[in-house]
């Protein structure tokens, strides 16, 4: 159990060799449930178990018991323990129990033994399963995000769960659990490898890599231990990489102090990220925004229904609405707890968002993985100037489960200034251009501020919000402003837009209007421009279609770290001409496969 706390021989998990998870993993994953079930059974059968041992240690009490449970004899269904006792099967029962426990322990141990992972320069791979083996690998250049979660129990053990998300439904690679510091180190390594997989290749191919020394040096470093045996603790070049982990693991003598330190440490290791979050979320704002949020309305409605139902003597109301109320309250509670200790900061490898008080988690979204952003202001938040930000990211489940909803929520509640700062982090390439359009996009209406306006006749279709509806486009980002009751501003990086549609219904045609919809990967954000002048819509459609192709062709964010090296190459790429570095090397086409994980290629053709 204390294995990771000792100065572990392995400080760099991303050395291309197979590694095992934290020894406590099976216990944390399934063992706690097992123990809970066992405890439940024992608590419920306590009296019978006492009797059970009474027979063993005081045989003369047997007659007494027989009198008490005589009528139950042989009634296995009624009282299995009693039946065991009266049938004299105590020894066998104990033996069975011991065998069961041993089987469970062996099972845990085996599953731990068989659950291995490795991080190569190409992919993160996980092998697991005892009887049914599974081997899952996620290509590094397809990583959509990395989450490190620390549920409360795992934190007590000093462990963390690392999750690599790739595009595709439930195609995520989970490493649960790892030593806490190791998980942070591994995330940094995976991100570094992912950012530079191509840069590193380029460096080995062309000697011209000298120009990128500061970048290439840490990238090529892990190549050393890759060739050597895994046990070489830290080859000199990797030392700076493992530096954040080293001072923590070195002081492994006092396990407890270590744990306490870890528990109280800031969610984001200061050595791995800029310590200052660009957004500070006061507790009062978190609670206030939740109480004023839309879910509060639902809570009030639900409570009203329940009260009315109970007072009018309709008990069925309880059964149908109380579960919903409980769900709602738990949602609000999780929203509050998840918003506590919220932090967001930019790192070279993407935006890192941390949150949580008891169970903590933080996710890293590499650059170029965000398909759409929406700033939202519910009408009750307006007096306070609060906004929330949601994003669409490939690979997060579409289901409205709490966890998925939390992951797409990058800013639970913030001021307009916070929105500016977070947008600057999320869209680093176009931050300056977009920033000028954010303020008029959030609160503006009508013409001006760089936004197109909607003709007055649109009031027939959108009587309240027609003044708000407008669009702007700059630096490869399309901005759509809309909504009166719920103000919203949607930003779509055209480099990741999947397609665009313009639609004209009969009423639209009568009013000479049209609607435009930008298609992105599934998520909470839908980029819809509901009404716009028809000829303007056609112009916008053409422009978006053209820009999307152009931006996608010049987009290099799938290897964000390689940009500095590959710069001279794609600069010449015209519209539609594939980048030379993509077409040139054979693995590239493989690297571009849509869904890299286990799925055995329902690839591009059928």
């Amino acid at each position: 159990m204390s294995a990771p706390a000792r100065p572990a021989p392995v400080t760099n998990l991303a050395d291309g060799e197979w590694h095992r998870l934290h020894p406590a993993s099976p216990l944390l994953r399934g063992g706690l449930v097992f123990i809970a079930v066992l405890g439940f059974i024992i608590a419920n059968l306590r009296e019978r178990v006492v009797d059970f041992f009474l027979v063993v240690f005081a045989p003369e009490s047997r007659d007494d018991l027989d009198a008490r449970y005589g009528s139950w004899q042989d009634e296995w269904a009624n009282d299995p323990v009693g039946a065991i006792v009266t049938n004299g099967l105590v020894g066998w029962a104990l033996l069975g129990l011991v065998v069961l426990i041993i089987a469970v322990i062996v099972g845990f141990w085996l599953s731990w033994r068989m659950h291995t992972f490795r991080v190569t320069h190409e992919a993160v791979e996980v092998r697991s399963g005892i009887l049914f083996r599974s081997h899952r690998s996620a290509r590094l250049d397809r990583i959509q995000g990395i989450n490190v979660n620390r549920p409360l129990f795992a934190r007590l053990f000093g462990t963390a769960k690392l999750e690599v998300s790739v595009a595709g439904q439930s195609a995520n690679v989970q490493l649960s659990y790892l030593g806490s510091a190791l998980a942070d180190g591994l995330r940094a390594d995976v991100l570094r490898l992912a950012s530079g997989a191509r840069a590193e290749k380029a460096a080995t191919q062309a000697a011209a890599a000298n120009t990128a020394v500061p970048l290439a040096a840490p990238l090529t470093a892990p190549a050393g231990p890759l060739a050597g045996p895994p046990t070489t603790p830290a080859a000199p070049p990797t030392a700076p990489a493992a530096a954040p982990a080293a001072p923590l693991t070195a002081r492994a003598g006092e396990l407890v102090t270590h744990r306490v330190d870890e528990f109280l440490a800031p969610e984001l290791d200061p050595a791995l990220a800029p310590p200052e979050s660009v957004v500070h979320l006061p507790l009062s704002r978190v609670i206030g925004s939740t109480l004023l949020g839309g879910s509060t309305i639902w809570a009030i409605v639900l409570v009203a229904i329940i009260v009315a139902g109970v007072s009018s003597g309709q008990p069925w109301v309880l059964f149908s609405f109380v579960p919903a109320a409980i769900g709602l309250v738990s949602y609000m509670w999780s929203r509050i707890t998840k918003s506590l200790r919220y932090s967001i900061a930019g790192t070279p490898d993407g935006v890192r968002i941390g949150h949580g008080l008891l169970s903590t988690g933080n996710q890293t979204i590499p650059p170029g993985r965000i398909h759409a952003i929406e700033a939202n202001q519910w009408v009750f938040w307006r007096p306070f100037g609060w906004w929330s930000l949601r994003i669409n990211v490939a690979g997060h489940s579409v289901s409205a489960s709490n966890e998925a909803a939390q992951r797409t929520l990058v800013l639970p509640v913030g001021t307009a200034a916070d929105v500016h700062r977070v947008l600057g982090l999320l869209l680093p390439d176009a931050a300056a251009e977009v920033d000028a359009l954010v303020a008029p996009g959030l609160t503006g209406r009508g013409d001006g501020g760089g936004y197109s306006s909607t003709p007055r006749r649109a009031a027939w279709l959108r009587p309240f919000s027609w003044r708000r509806i407008g669009w702007a486009a700059t630096a490869g980002i399309a901005l759509i402003r809309r909504g009166a009751l719920v103000r919203s501003l949607t930003l779509v990086p055209l480099a990741r837009m999947q397609s665009v549609a313009v639609s004209v219904g009969p009423v639209d045609r009568a009013l000479d209007l049209a609607g435009i919809r930008l298609h992105t990967v599934a998520g909470p954000v839908s980029a819809v421009l509901p009404v716009v002048d028809r000829s303007e819509a056609m112009r916008l459609f053409d422009r978006l279609a053209e820009d999307a192709v152009e931006r996608a062709a010049s987009d290099t964010t799938h290897h964000w770290g390689a940009q500095t090296i590959a710069e001279p190459g794609p600069a010449a790429a015209g519209s539609g001409v594939p980048r030379s570095d993509v077409a040139a090397e054979p693995p590239a086409s493989e690297a571009q496969r849509p869904f890299p994980s286990t799925s055995s290629g329902n690839g591009s053709a059928r």
């Binding site: 397809r142 959509q144 595009a167 170029g368 398909h371 490939a394 480099a495 990741r496 999947q498 397609s499 665009v500 549609a501 313009v502 639609s503 004209v504 219904g505 009969p506 045609r509 919809r517 298609h519 992105t520 990967v521 599934a522 839908s526 459609f541 978006l544 279609a545 999307a548 192709v549 996608a552 062709a553 987009d555 964010t557 799938h558 519209s575 539609g576 594939p578 993509v582 077409a583 086409s589 571009q592 849509p594 869904f595 329902n602 690839g603 591009s604 053709a605 059928r606």
Partner: protein, 157 residues
């Protein structure tokens, strides 16, 4: 490797038959159900419903040739344009590099007529572009062409 043209292409006129057969089957089922209600239970509205459904379906069938004519697609240099609809018009642009897979499906009537549907799937479910009523060999050729195009223009997610 591929020829890129800039004309709007129409789907095969034979596709009208597929649509008409589908509409007729729908009409027969619903009118039949309404008539059953009328004759078995002697409910007057059943007859009116049957007449209304029948008339609406016949109008729909009469408009079918125009609707099929409105289905058009165009292979531009970097993306595919698709549009359809008379009342509710919709036009979509799908960059070749965004196509994750190209699907060919054929229903029984379409197969009898030698037609196929070509479906384009991107990472966004809302794209929903299906070009129906393409002659079979044309569909095969188009699919290969588009897959090849998608491969050269592939641009991440």
């Amino acid at each position: 490797m591929h020829e890129v043209d800039t004309d709007w292409r129409r789907v095969s006129p034979k596709y009208v038959v597929v649509e008409v057969v589908g509409s007729l089957i729908g009409m027969v089922v619903f009118v039949g159900a309404a008539l059953v209600v009328y004759f078995l239970f002697d409910w007057q509205w059943g007859l009116w419903a049957a007449i209304a459904i029948g008339v609406a379906s016949l109008i729909g069938i009469a408009l079918e040739p125009r609707r099929v004519r409105s289905i058009q697609y165009r292979l531009r240099e970097d993306d595919l344009l698709f549009r359809r609809g008379i009342m509710f018009q919709r036009q979509v642009a799908v960059p070749y590099g965004r196509m994750q897979l190209v699907d060919i499906t054929r229903g029984p009537v379409a197969r009898a007529l030698g037609l196929a549907d070509l479906k384009f799937v991107t990472a966004a479910a809302a794209t929903a572009v299906t070009v129906p009523g393409i002659p079979m060999e044309e569909a095969d050729r188009l699919r290969d062409e588009l897959v090849a195009l998608a491969e050269t223009r592939r641009a991440g997610l």
